[in-house]
């Protein structure tokens, strides 16, 4: 009951109506088609890829494979007959996504007790019980294999990390981290233009960087035979996958 104040002029203010974010609409605006759906360039019968896609859609209906890019920190639980509780949880940063169709794989890397461990998981394997995205962030490159030659602090992730909550359903943040490397020799010569890496802070002398540019092949981007335009194929597959998932 109100002791002071005007009871009549102050009308009852209803609470603000909840804003319903239509997630389906938002997701449709921000189309993400997993890269393993896009068939590689070649002369194989498209029927093979169609059948694989049907199986992939079937699997996705039963088990949710979240959207993730290279650079995300994931936690994967797999069924393991030799582990306690029959299941095995591994947390790591995704350094590479490879393979097409049902054989699509992704490699997770983590440093546990000063020992770097990498595990290559198959996305559509029935052994996988859960995939959680712990941290969403894209990196400057598609392939983070150079983390093997980087200082171990860049690959260490806490095993009991809590999932970082995502506010924006629109964009995936890009982390422009420049990684510092261990002294040379590295497993690959990452300074060479063939790898086109933007995420390393090269502390090499200018002469070495110039020498690495000798191996650049600037004609490659204009080579017409290497062009593979996937926009139309992606449109078709996008429709197909969406219809399949809705049923």
């Amino acid at each position: 009951c109100r002791a002071s104040g005007d009871g009549k002029s102050e009308k009852f203010q209803p609470p603000p109506k909840p804003v319903i974010i239509d997630k389906q609409k938002q997701r449709a605006e921000r189309r993400f088609l997993s890269p393993e759906f896009i068939p590689p360039r070649g002369r194989t019968d498209p029927l093979k890829y169609y059948m694989e896609r049907k199986d992939m859609i079937q699997r996705r209906k039963v088990f949710n494979i979240p959207e993730f890019y290279v650079g995300h920190v994931l936690a994967v639980t797999t069924a393991d007959p030799y582990a306690n509780n029959k299941s095995n949880r591994f947390v790591g940063i995704c350094i590479q996504r490879g393979g097409k169709g049902l054989g699509a794989t992704f490699v997770l890397r983590n440093v546990i007790e000063d020992q770097g461990v990498e595990i290559c998981y198959e996305l559509y394997s029935p052994r996988i019980q859960a995939i959680e995205v712990l941290k969403l962030e894209k990196r400057l490159d598609d392939n983070l294999m150079y983390l093997r030659d980087a200082l171990p602090e860049y690959s260490t992730f806490d095993v009991n990390m809590k999932p970082v909550s995502r506010l924006d359903h629109e964009e995936v943040p890009v982390n422009e981290l420049q990684v510092r490397m261990k002294p040379k020799p590295w497993s690959k010569r990452w300074e060479r233009p063939k790898y086109n890496i933007k995420g390393i802070k090269f502390e090499l002398p200018e002469s070495k960087m110039k020498e690495a540019q000798k191996w650049s092949q600037p004609w490659l981007e204009f080579d017409m035979l290497r062009e593979y335009d996937t926009s139309k194929i992606e449109e078709k597959i996008w429709k197909e996958v969406n219809e399949g998932l809705k049923k």
Binding site: T105, Q115, G116, E118, E122
Partner: protein, 123 residues
């Protein structure tokens, strides 16, 4: 002139890293421990194979617990070739293994039960 590519699994003359807390494995020596024989039909050692190591001028058997070569999918690949020192009867020399060990070794629980008992982390 043809050269073979890097093997990356463990064979003769590979330098390995001893992972348990035994005295032999952890005291510094001017030469790294090297593999001199692999107890396998092929000379290539994978996880779970026994090898002969030359450490500090002595011969010692060891068990491979992880290598740099990528194996079957869903199995871990380590950044260094890890090895646990072992006696002839299979008893481990050290008392604790800090580095992570793959779960696949549990398949051969009979031979490696004592090694698995001293392991702390599994991957």
């Amino acid at each position: 002139l043809s050269t073979t590519g890097a093997c990356r699994a463990i064979q003769k003359l590979t330098r390995v890293r001893v992972v348990d807390n035994s005295a032999l494995g952890n005291t510094p020596y001017h030469r790294p421990p090297k593999c001199i024989h692999v107890y396998n039909k092929t000379g290539v050692g994978k996880v779970g194979d026994k090898i002969l190591l030359a450490i500090k001028g002595e011969k010692k058997k060891a068990l491979i617990v992880g290598h740099k070569m990528p194996g079957p999918t869903m199995t871990p690949r380590f950044d260094s070739n890890n090895v646990v020192l072992i006696e002839d009867n299979g008893n481990p020399v050290g008392t604790r293994i800090k580095t992570p060990i793959p779960y696949i070794l549990r398949q051969r629980e009979g031979e490696f039960s004592k090694v698995l008992a001293i392991a702390r982390n599994f991957v």
